[in-house]
């Protein structure tokens, strides 16, 4: 199996001196489902942002699909991001657009044809269970529904990798579990899923690979693990 994400000895120190990651190495294979766990401020979001090339590692190399991110020109960043669908705790939907438009937006951005958009959006909305809410605005949706829209938008362009930074952070346990089922479904269709979370119960129930970071340092990496495995 070829690794779709390869992180080699990455250290990230922010401009203000705060430590993000320290001597961090990790390989993620195609089709894997990986939890990134750790306390608040341990460096989970730093890890995600480095993958998105939102920030540059201070030292070390990052490869996505064998592309060295440090060699990637600024102009090419959009094409990297098209390989990485992303979902955030705060949903980040456009309040002025309907559910349908919010999802279609991601396709317009990559200049997909209207025909393609009209065919794909209802399919994805059906996958996340929101085909009946296509015309609603984000304000008219529950938290879980908003996150489903965000997930639909993240996967509409069929990226090989889905990054989710605390996607269940704002949701109650039942709704959260619904989202996890959806992510599991997406993962089962071949998408590599990397999810940062605090939610112990979810990690424990899923029995997937768990990468534990504390203070920017990788302290454990367990296949089919639980949140507290090594501690």
């Amino acid at each position: 199996m070829s690794s779709v994400i390869k992180i080699d000895n990455v250290t990230k120190i922010y401009e203000n001196g705060a430590l993000g990651l320290k001597d961090f190495s990790l390989d993620i294979d195609k089709g894997e489902f990986v939890f990134i766990v750790g306390q608040s401020g341990s460096g989970k979001s730093t890890f995600m942002r480095i993958l998105l090339k939102e920030i540059e590692p201070t030292t070390g190399d990052v490869f996505i699909d064998d592309t060295d991110l440090s060699m990637l020109k600024r102009k090419k960043i959009p094409y990297l991001r098209r390989k990485l669908g992303c979902v955030f705790q705060d949903f980040r939907l456009l309040p002025s657009k309907t559910v349908y438009e919010n999802v279609a937006f991601a396709m317009q951005v990559v200049e997909a044809s209207n025909r393609n958009i009209r065919r794909s959006v209802p399919q994805v909305l059906a996958l996340v269970g929101l085909h009946k809410k296509a015309k609603s605005y984000p304000d008219q949706l529950s938290g879980g529904e908003k996150q489903r829209v965000a997930i639909a938008r993240a996967i509409i362009n069929k990226p090989p990798i889905l990054l989710a930074d605390e996607p269940t952070g704002n949701l109650d346990p039942d709704t959260a579990w619904g989202i996890m089922e959806l992510l599991k479904e997406i993962n089962s269709r071949g998408t590599t899923v990397v999810m940062a979370t605090h939610a112990k119960d979810i990690v424990n129930r899923m029995r997937k690979r768990v990468v534990h970071i504390e203070n920017g340092v990788l302290i454990s990496d367990v296949a089919e693990g639980g949140y507290d495995d090594e501690i």
Partner: protein
């Protein structure tokens, strides 16, 4: 970019504008104000330019021909003038034409009718130029032409060419003059010496008088030959003559000293200043009444030819003997015993006017460019701030677009289109308002202020807006683009 993407951007741009209604209106109002000032200054500048052009077209050069210039010669001179750079038009005026226009321009000129049979006026060419700024160079060319015609006419059958010490071709007269000078300095023998002495007694006499009679020229030549025999240093056939300027200071006889300037002296306004007062008077009184009148008429003719803008330097300094003084040299030369001009007699031009026009033109241009630059800076900064606000409002959207993999240009386009639209709408409104305003102004001017309308013609509203409208629209659109591009710049860094 694909068409559907363009459509998408356009839709987004319109939406953005509609959504930020108030801000968009503010931006449009700014553009209206800016392009209003732009159009206004363009209107003023273009009209000043246009009016100056009208004046400029009326400033011409008049070339008077000597009497008894044959028809072929006239035609030849006309053709040669036409071939001078920046000459747009050459019109031949016969002596009769000139008399007719003199009669027309003079209220009590009916007495001139009597001159029909024995017309003392010269024929002339009226020359129009591409612009006033070319006047100096064309006058220089004409003077060169005058010289070369003269030297051609006086050329020896054997084709001897006379050169001055700088190797420039000069007329035989000039050459003779130089030589005469040398003679006077040296041996002082024979008729030449006598002639020279006689000439130099009259300090004011322009060099032309000394040298233009053929007999005199011959005498000079013979003197030159004699000298050549006596002093073998300059070989007889050499064209290089010892020039007066190289003579020692004691040779400073005015006529001789002035000799090299003989051709240009006619157009040199300062020449008069160096002339003693008695000479001037002498000139005035010595000229026959008919000649006096003729000079006056010549001035009148050139005044009409000059379209009313005519300036004769000497007539400003001496109003009394003004007219006669104006044509001082003509008075002395024209009809002087034994002298006849064979080619171009006189070149007349209005240097001051043309220089002034060129200066005004340049000043107007510089001024309008400065105004434009200031205006552009102000407008761009206002538009920038306006669009920056709409960008801030859509910061979220830009962020999301970045996350889903939008290219920088994809993010820019809707804002650019929004800016372009606002710029276009603003400058369009401004153009329409200004068009009607301009039309109305022209109406008022032609009705209420007929005086101004008589002096100068303004550019028609359609003609001027055919130029201004595209400029204004482009200006508005560019303002919008620059404003939006510069305001989204910093939000592209995600």
């Amino acid at each position: 970019m694909r068409f559907r993407t363009l459509k998408y951007h356009f839709g987004q741009g319109v939406r953005g504008m509609a959504k930020n209604g108030f801000m968009s209106l503010a931006a449009i109002a700014t553009v209206i104000a800016c392009s209003f000032i732009l159009i206004l200054s363009l209107c003023v500048c273009m009209n000043i330019d246009y009016i100056l052009k009208q004046f400029e077209e009326n400033i011409g050069i008049t070339v008077f021909l000597g009497p008894d210039v044959s028809e072929e010669m006239t035609e030849d001179i006309g053709n040669r003038i036409k071939h001078i750079d920046h000459v747009t038009d050459v019109v031949y005026k016969s002596a009769d034409d000139n008399l007719t226009s003199a009669i027309e321009s003079w209220e009590n000129a009916s007495i001139l009718e009597g001159l029909r049979d024995d017309n003392p006026l010269p024929s002339s060419f009226e020359i129009k130029l591409e612009g006033a700024k070319y006047q100096d160079s064309v006058v220089a060319e004409l003077e060169a032409l005058q010289l070369s015609i003269e030297s051609e006419l006086n050329a020896e059958p054997d084709g001897t060419v006379y050169l001055d010490q700088n190797g420039n071709q000069i007329t035989k007269e000039q050459a003779a003059q130089g030589n005469t000078q040398a003679k006077t300095e040296g041996t002082q023998e024979g008729t030449t010496a006598a002639k020279t002495a006689q000439t130099t007694e009259k300090p004011s006499a322009p060099a032309t008088e000394v040298v233009t009679s053929a007999a005199q020229a011959d005498a000079a030549v013979s003197a030159q030959n004699k000298q050549a025999e006596a002093e073998p240093a300059p070989p007889p056939e050499i064209s290089q003559q010892s020039a007066p300027n190289q003579q020692p200071a004691q040779s400073a006889q005015p006529a001789a000293a002035e000799a090299p300037q003989q051709e240009t002296i006619q157009t040199d306004p300062n020449a008069e200043a160096v002339m003693p007062e008695e000479t001037k008077e002498d000139v005035v009184y010595s000229s026959a009444p008919s000649q006096d009148l003729m000079n006056t008429i010549m001035s009148a003719v050139s005044a009409t030819a000059g379209g009313g803008i005519y300036y004769e330097p000497s007539s400003m300094s001496s109003t009394d003997a003004g007219v006669a003084g104006t044509d001082l040299y003509d008075a002395k030369l024209y009809g002087t015993d034994g002298y006849e001009y064979k080619g171009i007699e006189k070149i007349r031009h209005a240097t001051e006017e043309s220089h002034m026009l060129v200066r005004i033109n340049t000043a107007v241009r510089i001024f309008s460019v400065i105004i434009m630059i200031i205006l552009c800076i102000i407008s761009i900064s206002i538009i920038m701030n306006t669009i920056r606000l709409t960008v801030v409002i859509r910061k979220n959207e830009i962020n999301i677009m970045k996350y889903v993999g939008a290219t920088d240009w994809f993010i820019r386009w809707p804002f650019i289109i929004e800016g372009m639209l606002m710029g276009f709408i603003g400058s369009f409104i401004s153009t329409v308002i200004c068009f009607f305003g301009y039309t109305e102004c022209l109406h008022l001017l032609s009705e209420k202020l007929t005086v101004i309308a008589n002096i100068a013609q303004f550019i028609g509203p359609f003609e001027i807006f055919a130029y201004i409208a595209p400029i204004a629209l482009l200006f508005g659109v560019l303002l919008g683009i620059i404003g939006s591009v510069s305001s989204i710049r910093k939000y592209l860094r995600v």
